[in-house]
Subunit: 329 residues, 2 copies
């Protein structure tokens, strides 16, 4: 199978509703700052009614990542399920318009396109409540072998461990990728996701994962520790390669015994951290797909993350390729 894509991703296809919020609002609504919580449609209506005015933008963690790959000039594909409604059309338009190959058939009847209600506090942190809607109807049949087998890297999001059918789609993709000798990358997605599915995630990492993407909180949750050094050490025996983001402190790339610290790219004002990890993954994975040295992969991740946290919305609003060229990469 020829290599058509640098990165192909599978994830929950979601449209974000992003609004400014106060810390008090998070408390009143019982939300844990910086986390992702699953909610049902009734709760989604309730919470939306209380949220501030916002903007709507295509999201979904792995979808954001492949959009970032495309913005960096890479070739990418996406598999994820929307409904045949207005937001579903927006999702399909946006991911196609940025240059990602996206051909998953929309759900014909039933659930609406998934929405993630995101409250952004004045410090730029985002707190997410997701109504999974149509995205849980992603099935193994939606995983196109031609897409998986023709990508240098298959990127899977940990969020897919929540919907049972999606997990089977995830397993099918991993099997196809393994059989075709492709790299398998996994994002841990969220500390609570890790808590809910720790055993399954560890098993999957041991057996299938070549590249692990995580933030610090997720990594600590995975190994049930407060000590970053201990978590990094525990990881070394399990994943061949890992990149762990640490917010303003940058990121750490762990490759066997080698640990590489990567600086964050400073931004004037952090407006909204939604999509920061996803864009870091975009830069890192595209660098990897192109055989760039690991410190450069990390730097590409930092540049992509810096762009997305300087505005509302989880995807780049300017060409990441231009930013990378400007930075001499």
């Amino acid at each position: 199978m020829p290599e058509l894509y640098d990165v192909a991703a599978i994830g929950n296809a979601i449209v974000d509703v992003i609004a400014p919020s106060s810390d008090g609002f998070l408390d009143d609504e019982g939300l844990t700052k910086g986390s992702m919580m699953l909610i049902d449609e009734v709760r989604a209506e309730q919470l939306y009614a209380r949220m501030a005015a916002g903007i709507e933008a295509s999201g979904g963690s792995a979808a954001n990542t492949v959009a970032g790959v495309a913005s960096l000039g890479g070739r990418s594909a996406y598999i994820g399920k929307v409904a045949q409604d207005g937001l579903g059309k927006v999702f399909a338009h946006d991911i196609g318009a940025i240059g990602v190959n996206y051909a998953t058939a929309p759900l014909q009847t039933g659930a609406a396109t998934a929405r993630c209600l995101i409250n952004v506090t004045p410090d730029g942190q985002r707190t997410m409540c997701t109504f999974l809607g149509a995205s849980v109807h992603l099935t193994p049949d939606d995983v196109d072998p031609q897409v998986v087998e023709s990508a240098k890297i298959i990127y899977l999001e940990g969020y897919l461990f929540d919907p049972p059918q999606a997990r089977r789609a995830f397993a099918k993709a991993a099997g196809l990728a393994r059989a075709s000798g492709r790299l398998i990358a996994l994002s841990l997605s969220d500390a609570f996701v890790v808590e809910r599915h720790r055993g399954a995630l560890l098993g999957f990492i041991d057996s299938e994962v070549d590249v692990l993407l995580a933030n610090e909180a997720e990594l600590l949750s995975l190994f049930e520790t407060d000590d970053f050094g201990a978590a990094a050490k525990a990881l070394r025996g399990r994943a061949r390669l890992a990149a762990v983001t640490r917010g303003a402190q940058g990121s750490v790339v762990i490759a066997g015994d080698e640990i590489i610290a990567v600086d964050a790219v400073r931004v004037e004002k952090v407006v909204d951290t939604t999509g920061a990890g996803d864009q870091y993954a975009a830069g890192f994975l595209l660098g990897l797909a192109n055989g760039r040295p690991l410190p450069i992969c990390g730097r590409l991740g930092s540049i992509a993350a810096a762009e997305v946290i300087s505005h509302y919305g989880p995807r780049p609003q300017t060409s990441l390729k231009d930013l990378a060229l400007k930075a001499g990469l």
Copy 2:
């Protein structure tokens, strides 16, 4: 009737789809930069398919203005028609969440909520294509006399001259406002709108309008001249008070023989000028409703406009009241 609102507005209720674009794209699509063009649903689908990935945000010129009034701490109300669909819910949520009284019944069947496809070129200028959808079904019955009679200023957008029924709603509102001794403010909206409806607009200005809001191009179009001085002079005999925006050159307030120049508030980078005129109107009209001196009204307009051009989207993303307080107003 007690004064419940500083500003009540009537307009086309629209959700914006905002995406970056090149000048070449505008040429290819036959679009005149900086203008608003009406399109039908078929053309809207076509154009959307070719546009870049973007964001969705509640818009509509007069709706943006009353949202700005609310963000400045003023009391405002809005009358405009959406459909009972996803984007209609977004519109109603956003305008309510920012604190605007909005109670127009949505259209039950037929057209979808109006959409404005906005292409933003690298210089920050926006070029708009509007599919009016449900908004043209605004009828005189939708004009609640209690809202109009209890507002210090009734604000009408020139865009309402396009849909015939809306024009009758417009006339009803003007009659009610006149009878209750309220101020009537009109926005010229767009140079092509002025061209399409010059006679009707001039008649309405002569007979009903207390405060005219326009940008330079619209004013020049109204009097069919290239000479700003001549246009300003022509205006003096017709509108008691006018505020004319001139982009980076600021604005000019014309009150009889008095002409007041108001500086623009500089922004680091002009990202997207969508909503600049609407937010200027918000600051200017709220100042006026509160009896502030005209130079202060203009300054409030400049502050509000500066906020909105520094990000994608036609409405403030930070509290305009805080910005005005910070500026000592």
